[in-house]
C-alpha cells in the first residue's frame, strides 16, 4: 500500500483549511477590478470632437446610429450616399445593443479622408466578459461645401440598395 510518510510541512496539527489569506487575495483583486471598472467607466466619457474634423463627424454619426437617431445619422452622409441609403435601410441594419468605438487612424488620400475605427461589442454575462468581439471599420469622408460628409456606404448599412 502506498502510504505517504512525509510529515506535514509546518509540523503542526492540520486544520484542513487553507490559509484565509487566499480568500482575501481573491476578494482584493476582484474589488480592485470593480473599483477600476467603476472609476474608469465614469472617467472615460469621450471628448466631444468638433464637426469641423472628419473624426468629429464619424463620432457624431456613430453616436446617432447607436442611439437610433436615423435622421441625424443620414444628415451626415454625402448627397449621393444619402439618396442611396434610406432611413428604412438604417432601421433594418443590425446594431449590437452596446458598442464602444475607438479612433484607430486617420488617413488622407487626395481629397478623401479615411477614418479607421475599432468597434467592440459589449456582451452579457459570458465567462470573463469574453463574449464581445472587435471589428475594424473604415469611414470615408469628403469635404462638401466646407463640411465633412461620409462619401461611401458606411457601417452598419454598407451595401445600400443592394449590389450596384
Amino acid at each position: 500500500m502506498d502510504v505517504r510518510t512525509q510529515p506535514t510541512r509546518d509540523g503542526g496539527p492540520r486544520t484542513g483549511r487553507p490559509p484565509q489569506l487566499l480568500l482575501w487575495i481573491l476578494v482584493g483583486v476582484i474589488a480592485v477590478g470593480l473599483v477600476f471598472a467603476a472609476l474608469l467607466g465614469s472617467l472615460r466619457d469621450p471628448d466631444q470632437l468638433g464637426l469641423d474634423t472628419p473624426e468629429g463627424v464619424v463620432q457624431t454619426y456613430l453616436q446617432a446610429v447607436f442611439d437610433g437617431d436615423v435622421a441625424t445619422a443620414r444628415g451626415l452622409l454625402s448627397e449621393p450616399v444619402a439618396a442611396r441609403c434610406s432611413a428604412r435601410e438604417f432601421r433594418q441594419a443590425w446594431v449590437p445593443d452596446a458598442l464602444t468605438a475607438s479612433l484607430s487612424e486617420v488617413r488622407t488620400q487626395d481629397d478623401e479622408v479615411e477614418v479607421e475605427v475599432r468597434l467592440r461589442t459589449v456582451e452579457g454575462p459570458t465567462p470573463f466578459g469574453g463574449g464581445g468581439y472587435t471589428t475594424m471599420e473604415v469611414f470615408t469622408l469628403v469635404e462638401d461645401g466646407g463640411e465633412w460628409r461620409l462619401s461611401a456606404d458606411p457601417w452598419p448599412v454598407y451595401d445600400c440598395g443592394g449590389p450596384r
Binding site: M1, D2, V3, R4, Q6, T8, R9, R14, T15, G16, R17, P18, P19, L22, L23, I25, L26, V29, I30, V32, G33, L34, V35, F36, A37, A38, L40, G41, L43, R44, D45, P46, D47, L49, E55, Q59, L62, Q63, F66, A98, L99, T100, A101, S102, L103, S104, E105, E116, V117, R118, R120, V122, G124, P125, P127, F128, G129, G130, T134, M136
Partner: protein, 574 residues
C-alpha cells in the same frame, strides 16, 4: 417514440439494478427493495418537480405583469392541473417513504434516498440560482420585468430549503455513499458563479483600462450592465459556495467523491482555465511577431488580453486554492482521483506539445523542400505561430507532470504501476498514437507507390506529404516511448501476479507476536486472536506465511492447532 424510449430505459435500469443486487449475493428480497426504492424515489422526484412547476405557474398569476388575458388563463389552468395532480401524489409517496425511513435504518443508508435528496437539492438550487440572476438583471435594468423569475425562484428556493433541512436533520439524513454529492454539486455551482462573476468584474476593470490606453474613445458603451451582471453572479456564487463548500465541504470526510471534486473540478478545472488563458495571450503575442494578424492595428489585435488576463488570474487562483486545500491535510494514501488528475494534465500537455512538434516539422519540410513554396504564406505563418504556442504551453506541462508521475512510480512502484489510471493512460496513448502513425505510413506509401508507378515521383512529394511525415515522426515517437514504459511496468509487476489475501484473521496460541510477523511476511492486514484451548508453543512463521500466500482469496481465517496444523478458511463479509 420518446415515451417508449423512456420506458425502455426505465425497464433497463430496473433489470440492471435487480441483477446487480443478485450478483453481489444479496438476499433475494434485497432485489425487491432495490426495485421498490427505484420506483418510489423516481416517482417522488417527478411529483416534486411537477408540483414545483405547477406552484410556480400559480404564483405567476398572483404577481403583477403585463401579460394578456389569454395567457393568464393558460397559466392558471396549467398551474392548477399540475398542482392538483402532483401534490397529492408526492404526499402519498412521501408518507410511504417516511414510514420506511423511520422504521428501517437501512432505508436511510440506501442509494435511492441519498440520490433523491441529491437530485432534489441540486436541481432546485440551479433553478433558483438562474432565476435569482434574472431578477438581479431586472433590478439593474438589464432586462424588462417578467413575473416568471420571481415565481420560480421563490418556489424552488422553498424546495431547496426543505430538502436541505432533510439532508441535515439527524432523523432523515441519508447515510448512503452518494449523499455528499449534494454538497459537492452545490460547491460546483457556487465555484462556477464566483469564478465567472469575479472574472467578469476583473475583465470589465481591465477592459476599461485597456480602452483608455488603446486609443482615443469616440463612443463609450455603458459598463453598468456587464459589470452589474458579473457582480450579481459573483455574489450569488459566493453565497452558494460559502454554504456548500466553506461550511460543509471543507471539513467533510475526505472520501473518493470529495477528492474527485477537489482534484478534477478545482485543481484540474483551474489549471486548464489558467493554461488556456495563458495560451490565448501567448498566441496573440506570437502571432503579432511571427504570424499574420487579422489586423495591423495593435489595439484591435491585442483586444483578447483583458479577458485572457482575468481568466488566467481566476483559473490560477482556483487551482492554487484547491491545491492548498489538499496540502492542508494530505491524504495518507495516493487516491485514484489524484492519479486521474496527474495523467489527464500530462495527456493534455503531451497532445498540445505533439501538435506543436508536428506543425513545426511540417513547416521545416515546407521550408527545406526544393521547388516548393519556400516563403511562408500568411496561413503558414499563422500555423507556425499556433505551433510555437502549443509547444511553449504543452511541453512544460507534460514534462512537469510526467516527471512527477515517474517519481511516484519510483516511490510507490507496484501500486502506481498497477493502477487502472496509469495502465489506461499508457494503453490509450500507445493505441491512439500507434494508429495515427500507422495510418500516416499507409498514406505515405500510397502516394509514393502511385507516383512511382506513374513515373512522377519527385522531391516535391515531400511537400505534399509533410503532414503525414510530421505525424509519423511525432505519433511514432509517442507510441514507441509509451510502449516501452508499458513494457517496463509489466516487467516490474507481472500481469499474472498471484492474488494474495489482504485481510487475515489469525487464531493461534501466540496471537499478537505471530500476527505482526505474519503481517510483515504477507503484507496483509492481520488481526490476531489469542486461542485459549491450545497451550502456547513455538510456531513456524514461514509455514503460516506460505499457507496464507497460497490462498487466492482476499479474506481468510487462519487457525493453528496444537499439532501446528494450519487451516486457511476463506470468508467474506455477509
Amino acid at each position: 417514440m420518446i415515451s417508449l424510449l423512456f420506458l425502455a430505459v426505465v425497464i433497463g435500469v430496473v433489470v440492471w439494478l435487480v441483477a446487480g443486487s443478485r450478483r453481489h449475493g444479496a438476499a433475494p428480497d434485497r432485489g425487491v427493495h432495490t426495485l421498490r426504492r427505484f420506483v418510489q424515489y423516481t416517482f417522488l422526484l417527478a411529483a416534486l418537480f411537477t408540483a414545483g412547476t405547477g406552484a410556480s405557474r400559480l404564483v405567476i398569476t398572483a404577481l403583477p405583469g403585463e401579460t394578456i388575458a389569454e395567457r393568464r388563463v393558460t397559466e392558471v389552468a396549467l398551474g392548477v392541473a399540475l398542482t392538483i395532480v402532483a401534490v397529492p401524489v408526492w404526499l402519498l409517496l412521501w408518507r410511504q417513504v417516511s414510514r420506511h425511513l423511520v422504521v428501517d435504518a437501512e432505508e436511510r443508508a440506501s442509494t435511492g434516498w441519498a440520490l433523491y435528496l441529491v437530485i432534489a437539492t441540486t436541481v432546485s438550487l440551479v433553478v433558483a440560482f438562474v432565476q435569482l440572476l434574472e431578477i438581479g438583471r431586472w433590478a439593474i435594468g438589464a432586462q424588462p420585468y417578467a413575473p416568471e423569475p420571481i415565481a420560480f425562484a421563490a418556489v424552488f428556493l422553498v424546495l431547496w430549503v426543505a430538502h436541505t433541512w432533510l439532508l441535515m436533520h439527524p432523523q432523515w439524513r441519508p447515510t448512503g455513499r452518494p449523499a455528499p454529492l449534494a454538497m459537492l454539486a452545490g460547491s460546483v455551482v457556487g465555484l462556477v458563479g464566483v469564478a465567472v462573476g469575479g472574472g467578469g468584474v476583473l475583465a470589465a476593470g481591465l477592459r476599461a483600462l485597456y480602452e483608455l490606453i488603446a486609443g482615443p474613445l469616440l463612443v463609450a458603451a455603458p459598463l453598468d450592465v456587464t459589470l452589474g451582471t458579473s457582480v450579481i453572479l459573483a455574489v450569488l456564487g459566493a453565497m452558494t459556495w460559502w454554504w456548500h463548500w466553506w461550511r460543509q465541504g471543507l471539513t467533510a470526510e475526505r472520501t473518493g467523491l470529495w477528492h474527485a471534486y477537489v482534484l478534477l473540478i478545482g485543481v484540474l478545472g483551474g489549471l486548464l482555465t489558467a493554461v488556456s488563458a495563458a495560451g490565448t495571450a501567448l498566441h496573440s503575442v506570437v502571432q503579432w511577431w511571427v504570424g499574420e494578424p487579422w489586423t495591423t492595428t495593435a489595439a484591435a489585435h491585442f483586444d483578447v488580453l483583458p479577458t485572457a488576463i482575468a481568466a488566467g488570474f481566476v483559473g490560477a487562483w482556483v487551482w492554487w486554492y484547491h491545491r492548498r486545500v489538499l496540502d492542508a491535510r494530505p491524504s495518507p494514501v495516493r487516491t485514484e482521483p489524484e492519479r486521474v488528475y496527474g495523467y489527464l494534465v500530462s495527456a493534455v500537455g503531451l497532445v498540445a506539445a505533439a501538435a506543436g512538434v508536428t506543425v513545426a516539422i511540417m513547416a521545416a519540410i515546407q521550408a527545406l523542400t526544393p521547388g516548393a513554396l519556400a516563403v511562408f504564406d500568411a496561413r503558414g505563418r499563422n500555423t507556425l505561430a499556433a505551433a510555437i504556442t502549443l509547444l511553449v504551453v504543452g511541453l512544460p506541462l507534460w514534462v512537469t507532470f510526467w516527471h512527477r508521475l515517474q517519481l511516484e512510480v519510483a516511490r510507490n512502484g507496484p501500486a502506481e504501476r498497477r493502477s487502472v489510471t496509469r495502465r489506461s493512460y499508457l494503453m490509450l496513448l500507445f493505441g491512439a498514437a500507434g494508429l495515427t502513425a500507422a495510418v500516416s505510413v499507409g498514406v505515405v506509401l500510397y502516394v509514393v507507390i502511385r507516383d512511382l508507378l506513374e513515373q512522377q515521383l519527385a522531391v516535391t512529394v515531400l511537400h505534399d506529404l509533410r503532414a503525414a511525415i510530421g505525424l509519423i515522426i511525432t505519433a511514432g515517437a509517442i507510441a514507441t516511448y509509451h510502449v516501452f514504459v508499458y513494457r517496463a511496468d509489466r516487467l516490474a509487476v507481472p500481469a499474472e501476479e498471484v492474488r494474495h489475501p489482504r485481510d487475515v484473521l489469525l487464531v493461534s496460541s501466540d496471537g499478537r507476536d505471530l500476527a505482526s510477523a505474519v503481517a510483515a511476511g504477507t503484507g496483509a492486514r492481520v488481526h490476531g486472536l489469542h486461542r485459549l484451548d491450545v497451550a502456547p508453543h513455538a510456531i513456524d512463521v514461514d509455514r503460516v506465511t506460505a499457507a496464507i500466500l497460497a490462498s487466492p482469496h482476499e479474506r481468510v481465517l487462519v487457525t493453528i492447532d496444537e499439532q501446528d496444523r494450519v487451516v486457511v478458511i476463506p470468508y467474506d463479509r455477509g
